[in-house]
Point group: C2
Chain length 178, copies 2
Amino acid sequence: MAQKNRLKYVLLGLLKTKKQTGYDLAKSFDSDIGEFWNANHSQIYPLLKRMEEDKLIGHEDVTVGQKLQKKQYFITNKGQKIFYAWLKSPSDLDNTHDEFILKLFFIDDAQSPLLKPMIITQQKYHEEKLQQLNTQFKQKFSTQKKIDQNFGHSLVLRHAIDREQGYSNWLTEMLKLI
Amino acid sequence: MAQKNRLKYVLLGLLKTKKQTGYDLAKSFDSDIGEFWNANHSQIYPLLKRMEEDKLIGHEDVTVGQKLQKKQYFITNKGQKIFYAWLKSPSDLDNTHDEFILKLFFIDDAQSPLLKPMIITQQKYHEEKLQQLNTQFKQKFSTQKKIDQNFGHSLVLRHAIDREQGYSNWLTEMLKLI
DNA sequence: GCCTCCATGTAATCCGTTACATGATTAA
DNA sequence: TTAATCATGTAACGGATTACATGGAGGC
């Protein structure tokens, strides 16, 4: 055994809402869920095949135009079951792999000339991100109804915004310290 | 090519301070740096060997007791060079893999009975973590001198505390919402 | 006709985890 | 003497990234 294969549950979660092709699923990671999870099509297609062998999902072939065959995947009862079992199971937390933090750890000297430029670069990045997330929230959750119907998604996006804000504040504090 | 191999830089960073065995390096991840990076000895030993082939590090054999041979690794000039080059290079940020957040994303309904127990479990975890980090900070950085001599480390630990505090606050807010 | 996007796959490679395996030293 | 810790390795496997590869649909 090795690793977790949480991607399996992500795909089941996405298929829970509507049937989709592998291509559609892959696209979800470019927007939406991409904020906190990622996967490429080269990982998704083989996994879908294995999941179908395990009867967690099924597919129907759909013909588009003259020749193009696409596979509409859907979740099975068994798939639903293991998805909800996962939801209820305890969550373990990977440690974050933030390269900036890692570098910072190795700067022993408060007077190091490396510090300031590092912080400023990072700050720029996180401020852009923050703006982008705020825009996203306004677009996706413009009404209370939209929030109520995608409650978890809204909470998660709110969390991402909080996190970025916290990160920004911390960087600002650091600049004052040096 | 695949992936980043940042572990290489972590090991160089640790060896920059003092020469150490693979065993010592592996132990660093249990305390100290373990807060935001991890590695097992089974990954470390082969990597050290490769790094030595690349002349980033060297080692001297030390005999302990009658028979035990251990390898004291040290960083070379070349190793120092590529370490500082890495420090100065732009940092890219992996997206966090937080399983709780992932699950939350899939809870569409604000009235779902799953929500409350999930949040409470998570809250317990993060509050423990917060306490633990606070204790750690007090132990490691009891004087200003200690902070000044391990400035980056203190900033990073401060950040971890902020992050946990933010997470806790967010969870508390969520409980009010449901 | 051409470019963009849709759509599906495989191969190579590396990273990271778990498990297997062995033996020495040291302190209770 | 025995248990915990020090010390070093390999093997198997699964996850994730990058690159290679192919072809159809639809709009301009």
